[in-house]
């Protein structure tokens, strides 16, 4: 069987407007802003508690609004990757 894609309730979002704008956007669309992703400038980690934690379907719906916001460059719902210790 082909492994199925598993979607999480975390998103990566690129907001060129800076951390404040990212916080505003997260609040506006109902996400929790988990802050900048490591050292990657303008990339933020959003979390949505009302989305299923692990799903084989992506969650468009309300998340499309975030994607359509003019202050957002790029959005990616996070896939759960199978990683194996060697």
């Amino acid at each position: 069987p082909v492994p199925r894609t598993v979607y999480s309730n975390h998103w990566a979002v690129r907001v060129p407007g800076g951390p404040e704008r990212a916080a505003q956007l997260a609040a506006k669309y109902g996400y929790l802003n988990m802050g900048q992703i490591g050292n990657l400038e303008n990339y933020y980690h959003f979390y949505h508690s009302k989305t299923i934690k692990r799903s084989t379907y992506s969650s468009p719906g309300r998340h499309n609004f975030l994607q359509m916001d003019p202050d957002v460059d790029w959005v990616q719902q996070q896939l759960i990757k199978k990683r194996v210790k060697r």
């Binding site: 896939l79 990683r83 060697r86």
Partner: protein
């Protein structure tokens, strides 16, 4: 070379004596100290002021062997979003992995506890990121923790090594790698060390792991104590170097720290190899903290050695370096690393030359080799991109294919170095192909980039496939990384000053040596003041040609009689004698060799095949091996195969207990079961089958008692138009078709009982109603007298008309 004094470096750590891969204190036991770690320690390098972090499932920071070197600033918990990387404890000690890796790097020395880390004075931290859902965000966060503080990130994980996965970093992780390389260590670049993979038993190939296959990671593989390929090891062209790790049951293992403040010598796989190299790099960084990320890779390439590591594919690339798909450039040498690091001058800037994408679609026909070439000037017309001397080479491909695992891809450089970018993967049945997948090779390191590059693709079906669905190479792009100047000997014009020919006295008779020396002493020549050939060494030259050098940067080729010239690498048929910087002719039949003897070949000329056990080149291969045409070597058939043709798993005869399934030898299963290749286990046949090739009722090969085989199904009775028949040697009956146009026939099948519409029964056969309706009486007499109607072959011959006519 330092003379090692084992007494000088004695540690009271209880398991120190078991660290066979670091020292040879006991002269009675086998010695495996080729990694030369103690020699580096004796020079005073132990990892001081170097920070290493382990990306894994956490690090037990209060382990007595780690607590002294533990660095909270080199640590983070991505899973728990806090600063404490302590592992989550459970009954099965699932999260022991990071702690084991950490010990290999920086376990304290002389603290009477467990072991001694390779960089036992380095600072060690842990980034806990594997104990939870791993996403692109999680990986990107982990790879970017304090890049100005952490020098080396060591990771011993990756996508599944199941032989069917093709996966790598997502866009954020890729960006984190790039950012680390560009900005980490205050611009010198973060060092990412990666374990090559444990999928050897599953036939996995590490080029399908985008982390080890990345130019930003240092991919490390493993060898066993005796220099054999460990059962778990994956091969690929992006592996840079190797360390010892665990092997067969009779070979010694690696010892390290373990969860709950313990020590362990459990099987380690490839996982400890990455931290071992992280430790060695820490020693090099202590020797020279200004080394950038590419300096480290260059030093590893330059100092790693093939020593006694046994690989069937060791070959010398166009820059004179021995490289293999199992071990990269060989076993790491900590002492050589620190010596090189100390005197290292930063390599010239990295240039990237991206070739034009070739988008001409090409079908990849089964069992045929397709080749496509591209000619490149390596961006000679763009000074900021011009690559003269190669580092990494990437081939980006888009391929559609009905069964990805059947594909094999090679890249051949202008110097003739063949890198296997992808080997066949028996378990990879995906039809997804490759979409912009970047295959990377380090095998051309140091070669010249300009010239013709060839991509070879071979599709060898491992199972029956629909012949109408073919693979297609849709697009490929060559990406060259390297430098415009020579990385170690920047181009300079030499003046002929010294007048000593670079002739090895060992190559000449004493009288000739004396003659040459005296001749040179008294000979007066016009001094040449022009530029020397770039292969000339520091003594200068007598003219611009490569045959006019007074000594060579790399190797001299030829002899006194025929004349000598300097070359960057020895041509085929010669070996590079590094000590004397000479190219020496190999034995007849050898294409490359490590000595001049008959049994010192490492690759063979056309028409000869290398026997790895004896290192000889012969014209045929022994039993149990087959001649691999492209590699020109005898390779062993798959362990389940008794005889194979062309490929190890293209078996024609199987070992006892195995039977052929296509060209594979699969284990024999109990009656009523079959070997399910996807699940790798025996599975039940349909209840009507006695043996089968699948679970379906139409996949029977033999039927259960009282059933008849018909069109791969087992049915209780034969349908109309068929009769039941015995077949000698088969336990069941089969349904045979009645003769043509017969609807129902006798049980023997000989005589028809009822014909199809439009046919009439005549002497047990069916004849068409319309055949021969104009036979006259005389003709019918002839038919009758010749008894044609009694002979089936002629029964259609007017018989019915004649019968009707009386």
């Amino acid at each position: 070379h330092l003379r090692l004094d084992p007494n000088l470096l004695y540690f009271n750590d209880p398991i120190w004596s078991n660290m066979w891969y670091l020292h040879c204190s006991d002269k009675s036991s086998r010695c495996r100290s080729e990694m030369n770690v103690m020699a580096a320690w004796q020079r005073g390098y132990t990892g001081k002021n170097v920070v290493v972090s382990i990306l894994d499932d956490g690090v037990e920071k209060n382990h007595p062997d780690l607590i002294h070197n533990y660095d909270p600033f080199a640590s983070h918990d991505v899973n728990g979003d806090d600063q404490d990387p302590s592992p989550r404890y459970d009954a099965s000690n699932e999260n022991k992995h990071g702690t084991r890796c950490a010990g290999e790097v920086a376990a304290s020395a002389n603290n009477s506890y467990c072991i001694v880390g390779i960089a036992y004075n380095a600072r060690i931290g842990g980034i806990r990121m594997l104990d939870g859902d791993v996403t692109d965000v999680v990986e990107a966060k982990a790879l970017g923790i304090r890049p100005d503080y952490i020098d080396i990130y060591s990771a011993s994980w990756g996508p599944d090594d199941d032989g069917k996965t093709v996966d790598g970093p997502g866009p954020l992780a890729k960006k984190a790698f790039e950012d680390g390389i560009k900005k980490g260590r205050k611009g010198l670049g973060s060092i990412f060390v990666w374990a090559s993979g444990n999928g050897g038993r599953e036939g996995d190939y590490c080029s399908c792991d985008g982390y080890t296959n990345s130019i930003y990671t240092i991919s490390i593989s493993s060898t066993t104590e005796n220099g054999y390929k460990p059962w778990y090891l994956e091969e690929c062209a992006s592996t840079l170097a190797t360390t010892y790790s665990s092997g067969a049951f009779y070979e010694r293992k690696i010892v390290t720290t373990d969860l709950r403040q313990r020590c362990t010598d459990d099987h380690t796989g490839t996982s400890v190899s990455a931290p071992m190299v992280a430790g060695v790099i820490a020693l090099a960084l202590e020797a020279n903290p200004m080394l950038n990320w590419r300096d480290i890779q260059h030093i590893l390439v330059k100092t790693s050695r093939s020593v006694h590591l046994r690989a069937p594919d060791w070959r010398i690339n166009g820059a004179g370096r021995r490289v293999s798909h199992l071990y990269g450039f060989g076993l790491v040498d900590a002492d050589a690393m620190v010596v090189e690091a100390k005197k290292w001058r930063t390599v010239p800037p990295q240039h990237v030359c991206i070739g034009a994408s070739d988008k001409r679609p090409r079908f990849i026909r089964a069992d045929q080799l397709i080749r496509t070439t591209t000619q490149t000037n390596a961006c000679a017309d763009h000074s900021g991109q011009h690559v003269v001397y190669l580092e990494h080479v990437v081939v980006k491909v888009t391929i559609s294919h009905p069964r990805r695992g059947d594909l094999q891809i090679n890249l051949i450089s202008p110097s003739g170095t063949k890198s296997q970018l992808l080997a066949r993967r028996t378990f990879d049945y995906s039809n997804e192909g490759f979409k912009n997948w970047e295959f990377m090779t380090v095998h051309c390191w140091g070669e010249k980039a300009e010239g013709e590059w060839m991509l070879e693709m071979h599709d060898i079906p491992s199972q029956l496939r629909n012949p109408e669905t073919q693979g297609k190479l849709k697009e490929w792009t060559l990406i060259l990384y390297g430098t415009a100047e020579h990385p170690y000997n920047p181009f300079s014009f030499h003046h002929a000053r010294a007048k000593a020919l670079d002739l090895s006295a060992g190559d000449m008779e004493p009288s000739k040596v004396a003659f040459f020396q005296s001749h040179l002493e008294f000979e007066e020549e016009d001094e040449y003041s022009g530029p020397c050939h770039m292969e000339c060494g520091d003594r200068g030259c007598d003219g611009p040609g490569s045959e006019q050098c007074l000594n060579c940067v790399h190797f001299s080729l030829g002899n006194v009689k025929s004349g000598r010239k300097c070359v960057s690498a020895c041509p085929l048929g010669y070996m590079a004698d590094v000590a004397s910087r000479r190219c020496r002719r190999c034995h007849r039949g050898c294409e490359a060799c490590f000595g001049r003897g008959q049994n010192q070949c490492s690759s063979c000329k056309r028409g000869f095949y290398l026997q790895p056990e004896s290192n000889t080149c012969t014209t045929s291969c022994p039993a149990g091996a087959y001649s691999e045409e492209s590699l020109r070597r005898c390779l062993k058939c798959h362990q389940n195969c008794k005889k194979c043709l062309g490929y190890p798993d293209k078996c024609v005869v199987c070992r006892d207990g195995f039977s052929l399934s296509g060209s594979m030898c699969v284990p024999d299963c109990e009656p009523g079961t079959f070997f399910n290749v996807a699940l790798m286990k025996c599975d039940k046949c349909h209840a009507t089958c006695q043996s089968c090739v699948g679970t379906g009722k139409d996949q029977c090969t033999q039927c259960a008692k009282d059933f008849h085989l018909h069109d791969w199904r087992c049915i209780p009775t034969c349908s109309h138009g068929f009769y039941s028949d015995d077949v000698p040697g088969l336990p069941h009956r089969i349904c045979r078709r009645c003769e043509e146009n017969c609807l129902i026939c006798e049980a023997t099948g000989k005589n028809c009982i009822k014909c199809k519409e439009g046919y009439s029964l005549l002497s047990g056969s069916c004849v068409t109603n319309h055949t021969c309706n104009n036979a006259d009486e005389m003709f019918c007499e002839m038919v009758k007298s010749s008894k044609l109607c009694e002979r089936k072959l002629f029964i259609q011959f007017c018989c019915r008309t004649c019968m009707l006519a009386g």
